[in-house]
Amino acid sequence: MNVLYFVIPLALLLGLFFVGAFLYSIYKGQYDEIDSHAQRMLLNDLQAHANDKVQPQKENV
């Protein structure tokens, strides 16, 4: 079952990558404040030309 000696380090390497990404995200302040992000993603971008009367958000109602 020698392939385990290959696959397990590989899985650990991947895990290590995720640990790195996790630490990175913490130190970059991604989680310093986590209340606003869930709200902010709901905001739609403002259209540059207000006279383009396109209001796509309402079609579900």
């Binding site: 390497l13 302040g29 986590i34 993603m41 709901l42 971008d45 540059a48």
Partner: protein
């Protein structure tokens, strides 16, 4: 809000292209699925056509559904949500186009090559090496395009959906490359560098994580974007979503061996796979609960809005299948369920209930927005929802029934210690009615998909003239926080460093792995000898026809299996199997000890018309094996590739491969002559296939008889 703003036009064209491809491949994949389902109910639907038999059609169905439908759906959603979340455009239009057309070309090549019999014989990784290379290339293009968006983002915070996409892109690249390490024989044939149990382990490490990182994490990302958007409420708990993400990616990668419980894999790795699978339940349900609770207070709208209906159903089915998965990973449950239709039902509650329904919700929400119009018909969308849901329930319930029925029949032993149903076919005939129910359930799902296509098509038709909309977005203002200049190194650098690691890994793996894997095998059995040249030819036909789709080659260490098939399989027995053919479903009996069980003539007649030897068999006929000639010319090359991978062929054996194969074929054909088989049949593929089938399990059977004989003599 930021003070400074700038104008931005999102790339909506690429999203629209991927949506069209999603609809096309979804319809194709489901049509093939329905066809394959009815082929099991009535074998006549195989039409005696080689490219239409179940063994070849089923891989086309899975590839079209997973990589065609789900893949394009993911890409559409990722290109849409990532642009909006990061307020930027994909790195390059050319890369987007390359990604789109490259991916479609891969799906077409997959369908054509699988139909033509070019198969790698490993589930969800059937595609031959040139297509494997193309997948790698296109995936890298996608990665560069995606990480380019991270680099040029105008939003500092990386919303949780994006994290799910990152995990998807990195992990799929790793899984695909490692599982596809293979040595070409010619331009459409290759052998994996892993053999037998090692190949099985790598394959299911890939297979399970393909489910995890192709059908789960990207869809969770889509869920975290589209569910809050459609309801217009923030996700129930952003904190939970963060915990959900990180716990999921750490646990998923270890669960693969639950596909190999009771096989000849080491016990500890099976137990490890089982434990991590049970642990997966928690993060999975964390995600489901987070999604469903986002809908709290909006349940009234679920009744009126099909988009929300689909989302609620998708999350519910996600919860169902992520509960069922850990349950099936528990060894005692797996004992009944493995190799049965329960697994097939489980998979479809995920792929239809979770993947299709979530894509449906996304498309019904997204297409009107993208085309600046309203959905053509809410009524049709409701019809789609109910047809799809009823169809899926019919599918799941029929497969539960079929799976548990057959699983219990296989292991039923009477008081005298004999099998209650010694003939495998009895257990098949019993579940054929369930195959009809499943077929109709699948048809409902397919029709529901067609309704969606019509609905969306009409929606697009009603769209006003398409104008590009300029949006006002904030100028990135967070760079001052990173004065050290790390910003420039992010994004693209990340993708290149990951790819460099992968490239180095592949290079060294190709160099080192074959000898490393072949020579230090823990449990050797000297009785197990490499296949003869003709048997290799026969084995490649077995792989080509997708026999592994219905027949396993792995006897589990249980009383019932020992009675039915013989001694449990050992890892040593498959050390020359490239690829391994342990299988995952027994629609027909296990073949690990098939060699010598029946005479050659039985196989000859069986392949011509299975019902001649087994009444009520649902196996297709294989008339073309009696017309097409065995490719003797390539055998020398095949054997030398095998030798380079560590199979102990001598130079003489390789040089004489063609002659020895012809001699063995002649010998078999001479044996069949008394039953009226003409001598000219010796060059046909059926003879090579018989040679292979008669070899299965023969080595250990002979050695077992020998040791038994010796010990009896010793006792005298």
């Amino acid at each position: 809000m930021n003070e400074k703003t700038e104008k931005l036009i999102y790339d909506d064209k690429i999203i629209k292209m991927f949506i069209m491809a999603t609809l096309l491949w979804g319809a194709v994949g489901m049509l093939l699925g329905v066809t394959a389902a009815f082929q099991l109910a009535d074998w006549n639907l195989n039409f005696n056509l080689e490219w239409l038999t179940f063994g070849r059609l089923r891989p086309i169905h899975t590839n079209a559904a997973i990589f065609g439908f789900a893949g394009n759906g993911i890409f559409a959603g990722i290109y849409h949500s990532t642009q909006r979340l990061l307020k930027t455009r994909p790195l390059s239009n050319a890369l987007s186009q390359f990604h789109f057309w490259g991916w479609q070309l891969i799906i077409v090549a997959a369908a054509v090559s699988l139909a033509a019999g070019y198969s790698h014989g490993k589930e969800y990784a059937e595609l031959e090496w040139p297509i494997d290379l193309a997948i790698t290339l296109v995936w890298v293009a996608f990665a560069v395009n995606f990480f380019g968006m991270l680099k040029t983002r105008r939003e500092q915070h990386i919303y949780v959906a994006i994290w799910f996409y990152i995990a998807t892109i990195v992990t799929v690249a790793l899984l695909h490359i490692v599982n596809s390490l293979e040595i070409p024989v010619d331009w459409m044939k290759s052998y994996p560098i892993y053999a037998g149990a090692q190949d099985a382990l790598v394959q299911w490490w890939y297979g399970h994580n393909a489910v995890a990182f192709f059908l789960t994490t990207p869809f969770l990302g889509l869920m975290y974007y589209y569910v809050p958007k459609a309801i217009n409420r923030p996700v129930y708990s952003y904190r939970l979503s963060i915990i959900h993400f990180w716990s999921l990616v750490f646990i998923y990668i270890w669960a693969g061996p639950h596909h190999l419980l009771y096989t000849s894999l080491p016990e500890w790795s099976q137990t490890l796979g089982m434990i991590f699978s049970v642990m997966l339940w928690m993060p999975s349900w964390g995600g489901m609960i987070n999604g469903l609770l986002t809908m709290r207070g909006a349940w009234g709208r679920v009744f009126n809005e099909p988009v929300l209906k689909f989302m609620a159903a998708a999350l519910t089915f996600y919860g169902l299948s992520t509960f069922e998965g850990p349950l099936l990973s528990i060894k005692s449950v797996n004992h009944i369920a493995h190799f049965t239709d329960w697994i097939v039902g489980h998979v479809h509650s995920g792929t239809i209930g979770w993947n299709y329904f979530l894509v449906a919700a996304m498309l019904l929400y997204l297409v009107p927005i993208l085309y600046q119009t309203k959905l053509y018909s809410q009524r049709l969308a409701n019809w789609q929802f109910w047809l799809g849901t009823i169809g899926l329930l019919l599918y799941i319930v029929s497969m539960w029934t079929a799976g548990i029925t057959q699983g219990l029949m296989w292991r039923a032993i009477d008081e005298s210690g004999r099998l209650v149903y010694p003939h495998f076919i009895e257990t098949v005939v019993r579940i054929v009615p369930m195959y009809w129910v499943r077929g109709f359930g699948g048809t409902f799902v397919f029709v529901s998909f067609l309704i969606m296509i019509y609905n969306l098509f009409k929606t697009i038709q009603s769209a006003p003239e398409q104008k590009e909309i300029e949006y006002v977005v904030p100028v990135a203002n967070f760079s001052h926080k990173e004065e050290k200049g790390h910003r420039k190194l992010e994004g693209l650098t990340l993708v290149f460093s990951v790819l460099t690691v992968l490239a180095v890994l592949v290079g060294s793996a190709i160099e080192i792995l074959p000898s490393f894997l072949a020579n230090k095998f823990v449990e050797r059995n000297d009785a197990v000898k490499p296949y003869t040249a003709l048997e290799i030819a026969g084995r490649d036909i077995y792989v080509r026809e997708g026999c592994y789709v219905c027949h396993s080659q792995q006897i589990r260490p249980t009383v019932a299996e020992k009675l039915r098939y013989g001694e449990p399989s050992t890892a040593a027995e498959s050390i020359y199997d490239r690829p391994f053919q342990w299988g995952s479903r027994r629609i027909g009996p296990d073949l690990a000890r098939q060699g010598g069980k029946y005479p050659d003539m039985w196989h000859y007649r069986h392949m011509l018309n299975p019902r001649e030897v087994t009444q009520k068999s649902i196996m297709p006929n294989y008339p073309w094996l009696f017309v097409k000639e065995t490719e003797f010319g390539i055998l020398k090359k095949k054997l030398s590739v095998m030798k380079s991978l560590g199979v102990p062929y001598t130079e003489a054996e390789i040089d004489g491969a063609i002659a020895s194969a012809k001699a063995q074929a002649e010998q078999i054909t001479t044996g069949l002559a008394s039953s009226g088989v003409p001598a000219k049949m010796k060059d046909k593929q059926i003879i090579a296939l018989i040679a292979y089938l008669q070899r299965l399990g023969k080595d250990t059977k002979v050695s077992a008889e020998l040791t038994e004989g010796l010990s009896e003599k010793g006792a005298e």
